[in-house]
């Protein structure tokens, strides 16, 4: 598939909103879905649906196979060592909560330190905050510099003999900075500290090889990878899945249940309680195929081109201030306009059919640091092109006109 005519694969991008074509620049929030994904879900319900893993009838066999095939696809896509390392969750948030809860319960004591960064999404802070409350753990935030990056040295400075977890984002959903994960992991390894990577923004936009990254955990939101809502993925090294206790309890994740005691099977079963997101997981297999068809390298190159075009064009506008200038960056452009609040920008842009996000983007720590409660954010996905950026800039001019700036 050629990335230049990929837009046509997305039904919603053919829609008009109040007579205007949709310019969707909110993919970091949630990406739109290609036809193949949507149709796969329908087909699954129409021809193949049944609960998986439990019944022996043909439908159950088919559904189970489709589901587990997706696990294999994901394993291959991430280059995980084994399928036991791929756990399906409901979103990335749940994936991080799972680790914070299971790892925390077993390994975190009063006074132990968890190392985050000032760039983290609330999903990678609140679950650790719970451990702070329950266990008396300490949370430290590695500094984010003026460019909106986190330097590995600023992480190094904060490591002590009490550090029990380093949990960092792969790609900031505000500044777009790509963090030096490999360096962080190498550093952590010398101190035997596990590393969790919040891969929400990394997975849809960067080539992934968890063995090369070397991290212990990697959390993914499928809906940001052009997949269905309701599914996330936790990659966890087998070393951890073997020893971490289960997270939620229920059907499917047990071995033997007696009145006095319960035993549990191995991963991933141990971590997948109750009826899973069958149709969503099956649908997600088409997202991976879609990405692989285009090629993640091509996606990166394309998005980089559009992002650079956007930054350059926005910079030419004197009223626009771009938030963060990381050297190594993904396809996210946060900005403010002098004299216009981001919510007003978003509303006016929307009237021109341009969908962006305004707010703190679930990163209040960062926004407090830069002293701005809210920013506007245009995030670029597989389907965006230079025309979309031109429309964005035009709509920004319209903002300025309305606000007489």
């Amino acid at each position: 598939m050629n990335i230049n005519n990929v837009k046509s694969e997305f039904p919603i991008l053919q829609e008009k909103l109040k007579g205007k074509p949709l310019i969707y620049l909110d993919s970091a929030n949630s990406a739109q879905k290609p036809k193949s994904v949507i149709d796969r879900i329908s087909k699954f319900y129409k021809k193949e649906f049944s609960n998986i893993g439990r019944s022996v009838h043909k439908l159950a066999v088919t559904a189970t196979n489709r589901f587990e095939e997706t696990r294999d696809l994901v394993k291959k896509y991430l280059n995980a060592k084994s399928r036991e390392e791929i756990i399906f969750t409901k979103n990335a948030t749940e994936a991080i909560n799972l680790v914070a809860s299971s790892y925390g319960e077993k390994f975190i004591q009063k006074g132990d330190e968890i190392l985050l960064t000032e760039l983290e999404h609330h999903a990678n802070y609140v679950p650790w905050h719970f451990l702070r409350e329950k266990k008396g753990a300490i949370i430290k935030f590695a500094k984010c510099n003026d460019k909106g990056e986190v330097d590995v040295d600023d992480i190094k400075k904060l490591i002590t003999s009490k550090t029990k977890m380093i949990s960092v984002t792969h790609l900031s959903n505000v500044t777009g900075a790509i963090l030096p994960i490999k360096k962080i992991v190498d550093l952590a390894k010398t101190k035997k500290i596990p590393v969790l990577v919040d891969g929400c923004q990394g997975a849809p936009h960067l080539p992934l090889d968890v063995q090369e990254l070397g991290c212990d955990f990697y959390a993914i939101s499928c809906h940001k990878m052009y997949g269905p809502t309701g599914v996330g993925i936790l990659y966890a090294k087998k070393k951890w899945t073997d020893i971490l206790p289960p997270y939620q309890g229920g059907g499917g994740m047990i071995e033997e249940v007696k009145k006095e005691s319960i035993t549990f099977p191995e991963s991933p079963t141990k971590f997948e309680a109750g009826t899973l997101q069958t149709a969503e997981v099956v649908g997600f297999s088409e997202s991976i195929r879609f990405i692989e068809n285009i090629g993640i390298k091509n996606i990166m190159e394309h998005e980089k081109k559009i992002t650079e075009y956007g930054i350059e064009k926005l910079k030419r506008n004197n009223s626009v201030k771009i938030i963060g200038e990381p050297k190594d960056r993904g396809s996210i452009i946060s900005f403010t306009i002098k004299g216009i609040h981001p919510h007003d920008i978003a509303t006016i842009l929307d009237d021109d059919g341009v969908a962006i996000r305004a707010g703190h983007h679930c990163c209040q720590i960062f926004h407090e640091k830069i002293g701005v409660a809210a920013t506007a954010r245009a995030s670029i996905g597989i389907y965006n092109d230079k025309d979309d950026i031109d429309m964005l800039c035009k709509a920004i001019d319209n903002c300025k006109k309305i606000f007489k700036i």
Binding site: H341, T347, A373, F403
Partner: protein, 147 residues
């Protein structure tokens, strides 16, 4: 068209040059409002007299044009009003935003009514309603503190 109803001259004016910003002198009641969705904050200050009349009102806060204009217009209009009248104006305003009813209260001048009505454009923008109403809810809380 709708956009123009939202960003009327009067709103833009109040948004850019909000009246009654800061803490009013000798305030004796205050309350804070917060919108977790966008991080906007408002802090309302009141000086309520012994007959429960609102002698002075002001606000501090950051936010979008709508929320600043709303706080500005609110503090401007209610200043000097009796407790009961103030309560009624707030109720009327919130009803107008929620149920599309009209402002009926007599104690407002036509100009004041027009000013209030200018905020009703927000009804077409559900995600922005809270921007327009937060200051009013917060004001109400501050007022109740003096009941």
């Amino acid at each position: 068209m709708e956009l123009k109803e939202l960003y009327q001259e009067i709103i833009l004016d109040h948004g850019k040059n909000p009246r009654n910003k800061g803490r009013c002198n000798e305030f004796n009641s205050d309350a804070e409002g917060y919108n977790p969705l966008c991080g906007d904050k408002v802090h309302i200050y009141l000086r309520v007299g012994k007959y429960k009349e609102v002698q002075d009102s002001s606000f501090e806060g950051e936010g979008c044009a709508i929320s600043l204009a709303s706080a500005s217009i609110l503090t401007e209009i209610i200043k000097g009003k009796d407790y009961n009248v103030a309560k009624k104006i707030i109720e009327d305003f919130l009803n107008m935003i929620k149920n599309e009813t009209k402002i009926t209260i007599n104690s407002l001048s036509d100009e004041q009514k027009t000013t209030l009505m200018s905020l009703s454009g927000v009804k077409q923008f559900p995600m922005r309603v809270k921007c327009a109403t937060m200051a009013w809810h917060t004001f109400n809380t501050a007022l109740e503190g003096k009941k």
